[in-house]
Amino acid sequence: MAFFSRRRKKPGRTSSVDARPNSRESSRDNKERTTQSLLLSPALEENLSHLKKIFTDCSDVVFREFLFAQREQIKLALVYIDGLTNKSQVSDQIMRALSLEVPAATDNTAITKANALHYVKMRGLCVHQVKETEKLQEAVDAILSGDSILLVDGHATAVINGSRGWEARSIEESQIQGVVRGPRESFVETLRTNTSLLRRKVKNKDLKIESLTLGEVTRTDIAVAYLKGIVNEGLVTEVKQRLARIKIDGILESGYIEELIRDNPMSMFPTVGYTDRPDRVAANLLEGRVAIFVDGTPMVLTVPHFFVEAIQTPEDYYEQSIFTTFVRLLRIGSLIIALTLPSLYVSIISFHQEMLPTPLLLSIAAQREAVPFPVFVEALLMEIAFEIIREAGIRLPRQVGQAISIVAALIVGQAAVQAGLVAGATIIVVALTAMASFVVYYSGSLAFRLLRFPLMFLAASFGLFGLIGGLIVIVVHMTSLRSFGVPYLAPIGPLVPGDLKDSFVRAPWWAMKKRPHLVGQNNPVREVSGMRPKPPQSTTQKGGDADAGRRQN
C-alpha cells in the first residue's frame, strides 16, 4: 500500500496523500514529535513517573529522591545513569551540598518552596556546569549522555548537571603511527578528551569545533573541527552537507562516516584520511583541512586526503629535512616494491630472463629445478600464505602468538623450500614485498596489497607489457579520484610545483612558505619569508677561530 501511494505521488497532487501516516518514516516522525514537544510538569511525581516510563527496563538508570536541607516540603530527585556519572561528584557536590550544606551558606528562613530552584542553582549545587531545561526530551538526552538531572518539586524545570565521568582508557602512546621523535600522546575513545587534546595543540579562538549527533539509535556525538580563516569555507559547508545527509541507525566507528562521505565509494584507495595523533590532526587543520571527530573511537578523520599523505608521517616534520627526504624516497621505493615486485619477478622469470645477470639466473634456475609449479602459481601461493599469516597475526589470541610465528617461519618458510615446493628466491621476494607494504601509511597500502594479485596475473600472461598496462590502469584510476573535489594525486598529477616541497622531498621549515595550494589557497601564506637561519655576523668579522686562539694565549 505504501509502495503504491508513493509511486502515484506526483508533484501537483493534493497533500492528502502525504498527510496519511502510511509510511514507516512519517509514523516515526510523529512519535518523535510527541516526545519532543512534551514539557516537564511542576509536579515532581508526574515527572518521575514519566521518566520511569521512558526508562522502563533500564536497570542502570538511578532515581534518587531526597529532601532539601531542613525543608521537609521541598522534595528533590536526581536521575542519572549509573556508571556514566562521576560518583563522588554526584554524592559530594550535588546530594551532600543540597541536603546538608545549604543552610550554612544562606539565611535559613529565606528558602521556600517557591524559590527553591533559585537557591538550588545559585547556592546549593557545587557543579561547574549547570543548564536548565523545560523539555522532557532534552532531559532524557542529558541523562543518556551521562549528565545527571535534578528535579525540584513545584518547578517545571530540570537542572542538568555536567557530571559526566565514566571509566575510560587513559591517554596512551599511538599504536598505529609510532614516532621516535615527537609527542607520544594519542586520541582515546572519549570525544571531549580528544577535542581537548587538539585544543591544547592549537590555542586559538579560530579553532572551531562544531558538534552534531548522528545515528538514529546510537545518537553518536560527532565534532567537525577546522581553523576559521585558514580553511576554505566551501569545504566546511561541503563536509557539513555530506554529514547532514547521513541517516543511519548507528555510528560505531569513524569508518562508517568515511564510507558515507567519500567521493568515490567503490575505489580501493582511501580518499578520507584517519589518524589517532593529535599533532597530525593539528598539522592537517593548519594546512586548511577539516577534521571529523567521532565519539567512541580514537580515529579522527581528516579531509581532503591526498595520496602523498601515505608517505608522510608526523615525524617527518620534526626530524631534519635532508634525512626525511631520504626516508621519503625509501618509502616511495617500498610502495613500488609492495605493488610490483612479485609481478616483476613473475614476468622476469617467465618472459624476460635476459634481464638478469647470468650467475643470478643460473642460481634461480637451479633453485627452481625441483619446483613443480610455474613461477606464477608458486608466487601466488606464497603471497596468499603470507596474507593468511598476516591475518592470523592480527586476530589470534595473544597467548598462541609464539606458536603461530614458529609454525609460520619454519613450516611455511624453511620447510617449503627444503621440500622443494617453492624456490628460495620466491620466499625472498614475498618477504620483501610484505615488509615494504608496512613502511607506508597503513590504509594507504591496503589497495596496493590487493592490486598485487591482478598485476601478478597480468605479468604471468603478458610479461612486462601486461604489468605496465595494469600499472597504467591503476594510475589512471588514481588520477581520476577526487577527495572532496580536490584531485587525489594532487601535487603530482595535476602538477602543483610549489607543493612538491612536501611530497617526495621535505623542504626545511623556513622554505615551506605556503600551505598546500589546493587545500590552503584561502590563506596561502604560512610563514614570513627570510627566516633561513644565518650564523651571527660578529663571529666572521672578528676572525672566528684565530681570534679565540689568541685570547687563550
Binding site: P357, F465, I468, V473, V475, I492, G493, P494
Partner: protein, 363 residues
C-alpha cells in the same frame, strides 16, 4: 557537461607524447640514412608551419574544435564532408598507432605473441583511460612523460658512450643526393603533423592565449628529441639505419652494462607507456569529434564502439612490416594532406571570408 580544463603545460606535454611516443620507436627520419638529422630539421620547419596554422585557426575559433569550425567555414554539406575527413584521419592515426604498438611489442618484448592479443590489451587500457576524459589523460601523461624523456635521454647517453659509436658517421652529408632527404623530411613532417590534434584540444585550454606557444613548443621539443635519437642511431649504425625497422630499439639492444643487465626491456617498457597514452588520447579525440559531428551532447558511449573499430582496423590496416615500408611514403602523403593542406586551406578561407567567433566566446 562538466567543464573540462587543461593547462597549457599539460596540453604541450600531451602533444609531445603524441608525437614522440611512436616516433622514437619507428624513427621516421631514418629513411634518409646519414642525413636523418637534416631530415629532422627539415621536418621541423614544416612542423612549425603546421603548428602556426593550427594555432591561428584556434585563435579565430577559440570555442570550437576543428570539426565545428570546418562546418562554420565551409557550410553544412562541404563542411561535414571535410570534417569527416579529419575524423577518418584521427581514426586512421589511432589504428596506425595501435598497429605500430602491436608490431613493436610482438617483435621486441613478447616475441611470438599474436598481435591481436597485444592490441586487445592496448585498446582495453585506452578505452578505460579515454572514458575518464581529457583531464585525466592529461594528468596521467604529466606523470609519465618525464619518465619517458628521462629514459630516452639515458639510453641516448649510454649508447653515445659506447666505444663503437661515433658522430663521424654522419659524414658525408647528402651522400645519395636530396631524394632520401626529402623522403625523410616528409616522414618527419607527417609525424610532427600530429600537432593537428591540438585543434581538438584548444577549446579546453586555459588560459587559451598560450595556444600558439603550446603548438610551437611541443613541435620544437618533439623534434629536438627526434634529432637526438636520429643522431644516436646514425652514430651507431651509419648508413645501414634505413634498413632497420626499429632503429633506436636496435641501438638500445646493444647496451650492455658490465655484461649483465640488459636495459632494453626496461627502456622499451617505458616507451610503451607513451603509446598507451597516445592511443587513449586519439580515442578520446575521435569520440569527442564524432559526437560533435553528429551534434551529440555526450561522447562517452561512443568510446567503446569506436575502440572496437580501431582495434579491427589496426589488425587489417597493414599486412606486414614490409608492406608498411613500401607504402610508408604514400601514407605520409595522405597524413600530410590532412594535417598541412586542409588546415592551410581552412585558414585561407577564414581570412578571406573574415569569419571568426573569437569576439563572443573569450573566457
Amino acid at each position: 557537461m562538466e567543464r573540462v580544463r587543461i593547462s597549457p603545460l599539460q596540453g604541450a606535454m600531451l602533444l609531445v607524447t603524441t608525437i614522440t611516443s611512436t616516433a622514437i620507436i619507428l624513427l621516421p627520419g631514418a629513411i634518409a640514412g646519414r642525413d636523418a638529422w637534416l631530415a629532422t630539421l627539415g621536418g621541423l620547419a614544416v612542423g612549425l608551419v603546421m603548428a602556426v596554422t593550427i594555432s591561428f585557426l584556434g585563435q579565430r575559433f577559440p570555442g570550437e574544435t576543428i570539426i565545428e569550425y570546418t562546418e562554420i567555414l565551409l557550410g553544412k554539406y562541404i563542411g561535414k564532408t571535410v570534417s569527416a575527413l579529419f575524423l577518418t584521419f584521427f581514426g586512421y592515426l589511432a589504428a596506425l598507432t595501435l598497429w605500430d604498438f602491436g608490431v613493436f611489442i610482438s617483435s621486441s618484448l613478447l616475441v611470438g605473441t599474436p598481435m591481436m592479443a597485444i592490441n586487445i590489451i592496448g585498446i582495453l587500457v585506452a578505452t578505460y583511460t579515454a572514458r575518464y576524459g581529457l583531464e585525466v589523460i592529461a594528468r596521467v601523461n604529466q606523470i609519465f612523460l618525464p619518465l619517458i624523456i628521462i629514459s630516452v635521454l639515458l639510453a641516448s647517453i649510454i649508447v653515445f658512450t659506447m666505444p663503437k659509436t661515433s658522430l663521424a658517421h654522419i659524414l658525408p652529408v647528402l651522400e645519395n643526393g636530396t631524394k632520401p632527404l626529402l623522403a625523410g623530411t616528409a616522414k618527419v613532417a607527417d609525424w610532427l603533423g600530429e600537432v593537428i590534434v591540438l585543434s581538438m584540444v584548444i577549446p579546453f585550454l586555459y588560459p587559451q592565449k598560450h595556444s600558439r606557444s603550446v603548438a610551437m613548443v611541443s613541435v620544437l621539443i618533439s623534434s629536438l628529441i627526434l634529432l637526438l635519437v636520429s643522431l644516436v642511431v646514425v652514430a651507431t649504425f651509419g648508413d645501414i639505419s634505413p634498413t632497420l625497422f626499429f632503429p633506436f630499439y636496435s641501438a638500445v639492444l646493444l647496451i650492455e652494462i658490465s655484461r649483465v643487465l640488459r636495459l632494453d626491456v626496461v627502456i622499451t617498457t617505458i616507451w610503451i607507456i607513451g603509446s598507451f597514452i597516445k592511443i587513449s588520447f586519439l580515442l578520446y579525440i575521435l569520440a569527442h569529434g564524432t559526437a560533435q559531428w553528429f551534434k551529440l551532447v555526450k561522447h562517452n558511449f561512443l568510446i567503446m564502439p569506436l575502440a572496437v573499430i580501431i582495434l579491427s582496423l589496426s589488425l587489417i590496416i597493414l599486412k606486414s612490416v614490409a608492406e608498411y615500408q613500401s607504402i610508408s611514403l604514400q601514407i605520409s602523403g595522405y597524413l600530410l594532406f590532412i594535417s598541412l593542406v586542409l588546415p592551410a586551406f581552412l585558414l585561407l578561407t577564414a581570412i578571406i571570408t573574415g569569419r571568426t567567433t573569437g569576439k563572443k566566446d573569450v573566457k
